[in-house]
Amino acid sequence: MPGPSRGRVSARAIMATFPFDLYRAVGEDRYVSPGELPPESGDVGRALWEVYDRHFGRFTGAGLDPAFARFARVDVSFGLPIFPPGTPVVIAGGGPGLDAVAPDLRASRARVLVITSPTGAVALQRHGLAPDLVIVEREPGGREDQPATEALVLGPRTALLIEPSAPVASFERGAAMRRLARDLPSWGVWPATAVAVAIRGGATRLVSVGLQGAVDGDDPARTDALLAAMAIHAGAECLELGASGIPGSRAGWWPASWPNVVPGDAPAVAALDWRDIGGAELLRAEAERDLQYLAPLLPHARAALTLARRARAGEAIAARDLTRAVEMLLVWGADPSIRWALQRSLGLTFLPRLWRTGVSMAAPQRLWRPLVLTLNELVEQADRFESRLTTLGHTHGTASSPAAPPAARPADRRRPSAIDVDRISVVVPVLDDHPHLEAAIASLADQTYADVEIIVVHDPARADRCEPLRALPRSNVRFVPHAGSIADALNAGLEAATGAYVVCHGADDLSHPQRLARQIAYLHAHPDVGVLASAASVLDDQGRVIAAVRREEAAADDAPAWTPDALETRLRAGPCFEHGSAIARRDVLRQAGGYRLRAGSPPDHDLWLRLLPTTKFAKLPTRLYSRRQR
C-alpha cells in the first residue's frame, strides 16, 4: 500500500517503473493521436493521454523555442540533478499551504531537499527559506524576453536548472550553480516537471507543499490531473501537506502531516549531486542537422505561402492549387520525423495545432487562411533560425571571448583584412547614457537579414554602459572604444566595418525587423544607388509612435519611392531623411573621406552633400526606422 507507512521504495525500482521517455514525448507534443503511442505504453500511456487530451487540448507547447533563446548563452553546460535515495524531496509552491508548513520546514531544512519555481523561490524567501533547486521553464506562450521574478535573490545553496528555451534573464541570477536541462521532462507545468526531475534523479519520497494556487495563470485542474497521473504510475511515495494542517485531496498523493515527512532514518544532511552532460555545442549541432533536414521543404513552404497571400489579396487562385498546398502540410504532419523537426527546431505553434484540428476543404476559397497562418510563422521562423545559426557560425570563427571587457580587445580595432560582400556592418555610437540601448541592439540582432555585424563604438568613459550588452544573446556584437567627437566615433566604426554595406544607427533608436533585408534587396536591384534611406517615425520614451519624422512621410506607406532626382533636390535644400535610416555602400563612404565636423551642417548631411556628385540617393517610402525623441 502506498503512503507513509509503506516500506522504503528503491530508487532503481521507481526509475524502472516510470516511463520518462513516454512522459517527455507526450509533453513535447510528439504524438498527434493516441494510436501513435508505443504499444508497450499500456495503462501509463492511456492515463497520460487522457490528461493530455482533456486538460491540454492535445498540445502543451512546452519546450518549443519561438525566440531561439537556446542559442543565447554558450557558457552554461548541461547537467542532471541527482537526489540521494531516502531523502525527502519537498516540491514547494507559493500557495497558502506554505505558510502553515514553513516553520516545520525551516526546522528540518537540513534533512530535506526543496525544489521550486522562481515564483515559489520568492515565497520561500519570505519565510526565510532558500530552495536547493529552482526549475526555470519557458512558460508556453510566454513573452519572448520575460524576465524572471525581480524580487528573487538566490543564495549559495541554490542551483538553477534551466530549460534552454527559458528567457535569458533567468541565467543572470546569483545562484550557486546554473545548469541547462537537456530534454527536460516538461509539460509546461512546473510542479509536474519537478516531480519528473526528482524521480529521474533517484528521489524516492516526494512531498508537495503549497501547490494549490501556485501555478500562475494555469488551470488548477490541469496541474492536479497531471500530478495525480504521475503519482499513481511513478511508484514513489507521494505525500501532500495541506493548508493549515488540513491534508489535501489530490489523487495519488497521500495526505500527511509534517512529522511523517522526515523519517527517523533519513540522512542528517541532504545535498544535491550533479551529473554533467556536455555543453551548448550539442544544441547547435542538433540545430544544424535540423536545418539540413528541413532545407528541401522550405522552398515548397515559401511557394505555398506566396500562393495563399495572392488568394488573400483577392486574386483568383485555382481551388486545386490551394487544396494541394494544404494537403502538403497535412502530409508533413503525417510523418513524425518531419513533424518533430519542424515544431522543435523552428518553435512552431500553429502548424502543430493544425495537424490536430485538421482542415476542412469544404470552402476552398477560404483555404488561404490556414495556409497564411501556418506558413507565415514557418517561413519567418526558418529565416530567423538560419540567421541565428549563420551569425553564430560567423562569431565562433572570428570573435574574441564575450567575457573579455570591451577595452581589452585590441583586435576589434584592427583594420579589416577582407570585406564581406554580403555583410552589413551597423555602427552604433555610444557617447551618452542611452536608456534604450539594449532595445536598439535587440532590434538589430533580430533582423531577418542573416549577415549583420553590430559595432558598438563607445567612449571609454562609457564602457560601463556597454557592460549589459555582453550579457545579451547577441554574439555578433563587437566593441570599439574610441574617444572623440561623434564624427570620429562614426569614422572609427567605418574603419572597423567588415561588411560591404554600412549603417550608422542611433543608440536609442529602433529598426524594423525587415529593414536591412528590404534595403539590401533594393541596393542589389539598383547598383547605381550608393545611399538608401527609408521613411521614419518618432517614438516617445514609452515606445509609442508620436509622428512621422517629416510631414511628407505621414502618408509614406502609400507614397511612391523617392527617386534619386527628387532626393538630390531635397538634399541640397537641407536634411530630408533620418541619418540612422540610411544604408550606404562602404566604399562610397570611404572614398568621400568619411564623416567630418563642419559648422552649420550636421556630419551626416555634410557627408551626403559631398557624395552627391559621385553617387545616387534613394529613399524607401515605408517607415522602417524609428527615432527616439530626446
Binding site: G57, G217, D219, T357, S360, E380, L539, V545, T622
Partner: protein
C-alpha cells in the same frame, strides 16, 4: 450578428474589463438582434460580471468540447480578444470553418499579459479576417499589406483599458463609448463580409 468572444481566462485583467465594457455597450447601442456568447479557457473571479452580460458563457476548463462550441452554434463572427485565446483557437477556426475571425489581441497586447513570439503574432494578423491594433502602440510598418483587414482603434488612450486591472468605468467616458461602438461596428463588418 451572432458573435462568440474568446478570452483566455476570466481573471480580472484590463482585457477582461474591456470585454465587459464591450458587452455592456452592445446592450445599449446595437439593439436586441445581436447575441454575444463568451468562451473562456479557464475561469476566474470575473465570471459573474461576464455571465451577467453575455447570452451564454462557456468555460473550457470544465471539459467542454471547444470544437462543438465553434462549429455547432453557427456564429457569424468569432472574436479573439487576447493573444493567448487567439493562439489556441485560430487553427481550429481558420482551418475547419469559414466563420470570420477577428483578432483584437494585438491591440491589447501591451496590457494583456504574456504575448507570443513575433512570428506567431504576425501570422495571426496576416491570417485573421480583421485585426484590431491600438492606435498609439504600434509603429507603422509592413502591415500596410493587410489593407482593409487592419483597423486601428484608440483602445488605450481612450481609457477603455485601464492599467490597474479593474473594470473600466461604468458608464464609460464618451471617448471610450465611441471606441466601443466602433469596435462593435468592426465585428459587425467582419461578420457581414
Amino acid at each position: 450578428m451572432r458573435c462568440l468572444h474568446v478570452i483566455d481566462a476570466l481573471r480580472p485583467t484590463p482585457v477582461t474589463g474591456a470585454l465587459v465594457a464591450l458587452l455592456s455597450t452592445r446592450l445599449r447601442a446595437t439593439g436586441e438582434g445581436d447575441t454575444h456568447d463568451v468562451l473562456a479557457f479557464s475561469g476566474g473571479s470575473a465570471e459573474e460580471a461576464l455571465r451577467a452580460r453575455a447570452r451564454r458563457l462557456f468555460i473550457a476548463g470544465n471539459g467542454l468540447d471547444i470544437a462543438a462550441v465553434v462549429h455547432a452554434r453557427a456564429y457569424d463572427v468569432i472574436h479573439a480578444i487576447d493573444a493567448a485565446s487567439a493562439h489556441r483557437l485560430a487553427p481550429l477556426v481558420l482551418g475547419s470553418s469559414a466563420t470570420p475571425f477577428v483578432y483584437s489581441g494585438r491591440g491589447l497586447a501591451r496590457l494583456a499579459g504574456p504575448a507570443f513570439g513575433r512570428a506567431a503574432e504576425e501570422s495571426l494578423s496576416a491570417a485573421a479576417d480583421l485585426t484590431i491594433l491600438d492606435a498609439s502602440a504600434e509603429p507603422a510598418d509592413s502591415r500596410g499589406e493587410l489593407g482593409s483587414r487592419l483597423v486601428r482603434l484608440d483602445l488605450v488612450r481612450s481609457g477603455l483599458v485601464p492599467t490597474d486591472g479593474l473594470p473600466a468605468d461604468d458608464p464609460p467616458s464618451p471617448r471610450a463609448a465611441s471606441v466601443l461602438r466602433e469596435w462593435l461596428a468592426c465585428l459587425a463588418r467582419a461578420a457581414a463580409a
